[in-house]
């Protein structure tokens, strides 16, 4: 049993901790923090890092087939940026006392999740445009909020990531614009990509607020500053006029501007599909995870060689 004195100390520390948060001060790795705050961050930051790394795969699928040298270089650089984001995020999570290897192991065993959006396949070049426009667009809404999150290393990583993400989003939109200003075949390609990526992009914000188990505590600790539904609405409000400008149609017959709410109304998300993909049965869950495990397994001897060489040199 814990001595009484320690319990009192912990209660006092927890109060001080909440005071820091309420005063909008950042929590740093060496500061005292409740275990739950630490674990929530390890879970969230590592999940975010894994999403960056797994997210390289669907776009990587089109690097070899990019239609021009300029597009190829831009796509390669973009996917490389995602690897860079993974690096910052793994490092931010490591400040909380978990190693990169442990996190990668959790990804491979299925203990840690990553964003479900990457469990959908990229079927045409237009998907590269749609991912930049919609997926990065949705990610930015979440990440801009996270630049003000209470945990310092995470917030600072986000500042840097947001700059690159907004560039990616513009690049994606520009691919869509080029397609929509092109031939009929190109415009059909763009519409088909929007049809396939629209609903999964809305699902990126997570379950509805009344079904989101972590929201209340996350808001109190200022890990999140807006709810899933607020962020989703913001994304739809941003994106609907962009689709109009492109001249393609969002696949939702209920999407309509509501003058009294000053927001777009929209139709019901297929939550069965959402939970099916979360539980591992989406179109590409197995392939994505297998690709990550394969790269890690095939890299084992390379990592071992680098370590052995470094220690041989020292001795």
């Amino acid at each position: 049993m814990m001595p009484k004195q320690n319990i009192l100390d912990d209660a006092k520390l927890a109060d001080q901790f909440q005071d820091h948060i309420d005063a909008d001060e950042k929590i740093e790795p060496k500061d005292w923090m409740p275990d739950k705050y630490r674990n929530t961050h390890i879970r969230q930051i590592s999940q975010h890092a894994h999403s960056e790394i797994v997210g390289m795969l669907p776009e990587g699928n089109w690097i070899g087939r990019a239609p021009t040298l300029r597009r190829k270089v831009a796509l390669l650089a973009k996917v490389q940026d995602e690897a860079g984001h993974g690096l910052y995020l793994y490092s931010a999570a490591e400040t909380l006392g978990i190693s990169r290897e442990e996190m990668i192991d959790q990804l491979h065993t299925g203990k840690a999740k990553y964003s479900s959006i990457f469990n959908y396949p990229t079927l045409s070049w237009a998907d590269i445009g749609a991912i930049g426009w919609l997926v990065d667009g949705a990610a930015i809404i979440n990440q801009v909020m996270l630049t003000r999150t209470s945990f310092g290393p995470y917030a600072r990583a986000m500042v840097r990531i947001c700059k690159e993400e907004s560039f990616h989003q513009r690049q994606g939109y520009e691919i869509m614009l080029t397609l929509c200003r092109g031939t009929n075949v190109q415009k059909e390609m763009a519409q088909d990509a929007l049809n396939r990526w629209w609903w999964p992009s809305l699902m990126m914000f997570g379950p509805r607020d009344n079904e989101s188990p972590h929201t209340e505590q996350s808001m109190k600790w200022k890990i999140k500053r807006k709810t899933n539904d607020e962020l989703r609405q913001q994304f739809i409000d941003n994106t609907a006029p962009q689709a109009d400008f492109l001249g393609i149609t969002i696949p939702d017959p209920d999407l309509k501007w509501n003058e009294s709410r000053k927001h777009y109304d929209f139709g019901e998300i297929d939550w069965d599909e959402f939970w099916t993909v979360v539980k591992g049965n989406g179109p590409m869950n197995k392939e994505r995870l297998d690709a990550r495990k394969k790269a890690w397994k095939e890299g084992t001897w390379v990592r071992e060689a680098a370590l052995a060489y470094a220690s041989n040199k020292v001795h």
Binding site: I63, P67, R70, Y90, T178, G182, E298, A305, A308
Partner: protein, 250 residues
């Protein structure tokens, strides 16, 4: 003369095009995140060099030629990369040996080309050589790590050398275009590169107990457009969009 210059630019540009493609296949699949990022960097540098060389090639060719028509719209026999560069990513040892052999050749080649009488080639080479120095440092360090790492890495890198080194000789076989460009002071003198190449390779290999002794060169005429079976598959992927949807803007 114009046609010869164009052919020469294809020889210079197709090597980084095809090697850049092979490296880009690894993006997202590297042994560590850091290595993944570094390999993509190499690929990006190579595609940057390709763009400069093919923009120039398109200007030399004239008409409607663009960097993309040069890169994507030739038939298989029109590509002039050395066969070494189209060899597949069997494992990380193959990737690094292929890279190291190319870098050890290309660095002294660029050292000559920065002094080319063709000002555009000289300028492109002056930019590329900075990147190539870094590539050489990266690949030669990895050869040392793999050669001097574990028993397995030593075995794998030895195997990769045995497979790939026999293709390296082609880099020094002078084609007609290379000979003519050398004679007018535009192109590199491959014969002068070879001893530098051999010396670099042996020095690095010796440091970690690797060797290339007794490996006979293979017949390889990629620079004349006669490729291995690998290139057709690379082009099927590389050219897919341009072939499936011709004459469109992307």
């Amino acid at each position: 003369m114009k046609d010869t210059l164009y052919d020469y630019l294809l020889i210079l540009g197709d090597n980084p095009l095809i090697l850049g493609h092979r490296l880009s296949e690894l993006c997202g699949h590297g042994p560590t995140l850091e290595t993944d990022i570094a390999l993509t960097n190499l690929s990006l540098d190579l595609f940057g060099q390709v763009r400069s060389l093919f923009q120039y090639a398109a200007a030399v060719k004239g008409g409607n030629a663009t960097e993309d028509s040069v890169a994507f719209l030739r038939s298989e026999r029109g590509y002039k990369n050395a066969i070494l560069l189209e060899q597949p990513n069997i494992d990380f040892a193959h990737v690094m040996v292929r890279q190291f052999l190319y870098d050890a050749f290309n660095l002294p080649q660029l050292e000559q080309l920065v002094k080319s009488k063709d000002k555009t080639i000289a300028a492109i080479s002056a930019k590329s050589i900075k990147e190539c120095r870094y590539h050489f440092r990266f690949s030669s360090q990895w050869i040392r790590r793999l050669g001097g790492g574990t028993e397995e890495s030593h075995r794998r890198v030895t195997n990769a050398i045995n497979v790939l080194y026999p293709f390296a000789d082609e880099l020094f076989n002078e084609t007609m275009a290379e000979q003519k460009m050398k004679e007018v002071g535009i192109g590199a003198d491959l014969a002068k590169i070879k001893p530098i190449f051999v010396n670099e390779i042996n020095e690095t290999f010796n440091e970690v107990g690797l060797k290339v002794a007794d490996i006979a060169p293979r017949i390889a005429k990629g620079k004349e457009g006669l490729h291995s079976e690998q290139l057709g598959h690379i082009l099927a992927e590389l050219q897919y969009m341009q072939r499936a949807y011709p004459n469109m803007q992307w």
